[in-house]
């Protein structure tokens, strides 16, 4: 009987998740050009074999790791610092909590356009300020140099995403019982010791969930890159989802694009699996 209660949820999940995933998997086994659907043909693992020898795939994969670790890591550290500050008592705390959410509330495309103009070689405010402060002697083409472009975009996304961590961690901080801190103080714990031995363990589940969600979102995000550089200069800002998008959108190679997307999905499923296993263990203990 309980199974029948679950049936509607199972049907909806199958319809909106499993069917598209199955379609993508099926598509990845075909040489399917959107503009030539009549000549689509089954090629088995042909797309995956082609991907293994695709230089741009490996460049994109390497940059995806830098992208995910750099963006999520720095967003987390910045968000944690902001949450700890916002958890303190000061007279304009309410206003500060509202202000910190602004980057998160802006659409990614707007973020991309805004930062593109801030980085602009000729007219951008970043070059202008850096030159006025004497930090650089001449403007830098941040988005046109392969050694700076990826990091410049990462900075934009770090700015946009840190409020998510700040708000989530702040919510977690407010659930930590004050008695724990009182006990720690009585035991003579310093502020850093309280942070590492009381605060962080108490909100570990919140942090883990936030890290998981943000890893998935950042790994899949391509809109900011698309707006700011389109993946260039050359392949300097290509990440895996962007590359999959370009192959599917510009080249209309839906089979190849699906295979690339499937590889990304499999990697993310690995992250989810690790998280779920860890969560299950903590519930058991």
């Amino acid at each position: 009987m309980p199974f029948w209660f679950l049936l509607p949820a199972i049907l909806v999940t199958a319809g909106v998740v499993l069917v598209p995933v199955a379609q993508t998997a099926w598509l990845s086994l075909q040489d399917y050009l959107l503009y030539d659907p009549d000549n689509a043909r089954f090629i088995g693992l042909g797309n995956f074999a082609k991907i293994a020898g695709d230089e741009v795939f490996w460049i994109s994969l390497g940059q995806s790791f830098i992208w995910i670790i750099g963006v999520v890591g720095l967003q987390f550290l910045l968000g944690l610092a902001a949450a700890l500050l916002l958890n303190q008592s000061f007279w304009w705390r309410g206003l500060a909590r509202s202000l910190v959410i602004i980057p998160w509330a802006l659409p990614s495309v707007i973020i991309g356009l805004m930062w593109t103009w801030m980085y602009d070689f000729n007219l951008g405010v970043i070059n202008d300020i850096a030159m006025r402060l004497g930090l650089i002697a001449a403007p830098i083409a941040w988005l046109a140099r392969p050694d700076t472009a990826l990091y410049a975009i990462m900075l934009a996304l770090i700015w946009q995403g840190f409020p998510f961590f700040a708000v989530t961690i702040l919510a977690g901080l407010q659930t930590v019982p004050a008695e724990l801190y009182e006990a720690a103080e009585i035991d003579g714990a310093t502020r850093p010791q309280q942070l590492f031995h009381v605060t962080l363990p108490a909100i570990a589940d919140v942090i883990a969930t936030a890290l998981l969600l943000r890893t998935i979102w950042v790994a899949n995000s391509l809109d900011v890159i698309l707006v700011m550089t389109g993946g260039g200069p050359g392949y300097a800002t290509h990440t895996l989802p962007l590359y999959a998008f370009l192959r599917a959108s510009s080249s209309m190679e839906f089979g190849y694009g699906a295979a690339l997307a499937l590889i990304l999905t499999a990697m993310l499923l690995g992250v989810v699996f690790l998280y779920v296993r860890q969560a299950a263990r903590s519930i058991e203990t």
Binding site: L34, Y35, N122, A144, G230, P233, Y235, S250, S251
Partner: protein, 410 residues
Amino acid sequence: MERRTFIKLAGASALSIPLAAPLARPAIAQGATTVRWWYHFDNPQHSPAELVAKFEAENPGIKVQAESIPWGGGNDYQTRLFAALVAGNGPDCAMVRLSWAARFQQMKALAPIDDLIAGWAGRSDIADNIWKLNKGADGKQYYLPLQYVVLYLYYRQDLFEQAGLKPPATFEDFRSAAKALTKSDLSGFGLRGGAGGFDHWGPFVLGGGASFEKGGMLSEKALAANRWFVDLTLKDKVVPASAPTDSFRQIVDTFKAGRTAMTIHHVGSANEIVGVLGDKVSAVPVPRGPDGKGWTYFGDESNAVFAASKAREAAFKWCAFLSIAENNVVLNKFTGQLPIASSAAKDWTLHPKRFVEASAASLPIAASLPDSPKTPDFIARIWPANMQRALLGQIQPDEMMRAVEQHFHG
């Protein structure tokens, strides 16, 4: 009126509506054909509602459902259109580009409209060379021309006069002028290495002898022309450091800000540029190559009636309506391009005359990109990635040309 009477009357009225409605409805509405048309305007606030209302008043049996689709750099619009056609939910007709024609034909999405064009009175008001450019590879007509632009060279005539220079007519004139004008905060040429930048590369490399025929990118002339173009960045250093990723917005804004002395674009940006620079700016056709040949991009926009449409003739009527002089003028006010109808072009006042003249003077060397299903991918992916790598010195210019050759010919 008492409450009970009111309710009775209201009830009777409500009951009578379904019975009376068929009698009251105009007979024509029962057989109305709906034409779904996809379009894109750069400014989404512009609406073709005025044109739709006029058309529907002139053609009472046809309703036009105009659907604005975001351009999104070309890929959004294009991918959505192809996906809708594959899914069997495509529009009856849509704004399209020549470079997509081969893909449409490969998927059998187009049916020739020669018969409909033959019976259309507005046919003779469109120049023969435009009809030729719009023909399919098999000589049949699939597109109905709508508007066009031709890329030319913008130059700062005040800076040229101060330096005692004439507007460049050849590649070497161009390079000399760019070098002479480049100073600490001014670059001679606002090169576009980002999205859409093939229209800066084309005049110098295709105009210098390269072609899209088999082997055409690897001839000595083609390779030399491409090396020359890359050298503008790497050796001559007459372009801004941001050139490898600069796109439309950057080249126009940098030119407006007085940071570049020349750039290449079309009449679509003329009013915006004149709004800032006034008479300091003018335009000439792009420079010609060493053998006197030249090449510039014919930026087209046509309407196509799709083969799957069940309202083929009505869709054609709507597309033809948009290409008739007076309607074409209204439409081009929204798009900022040039009217396709010759009679409309004569009295065209939307852009300063010198830019319209530069466009007309560029037509003899104007051409479109090859009629190949691989062209859109060349524009969006192959060209930018390889060009940018060449401009950054990551690959040799010849390697870039080999990538382009391989893309088209394997």
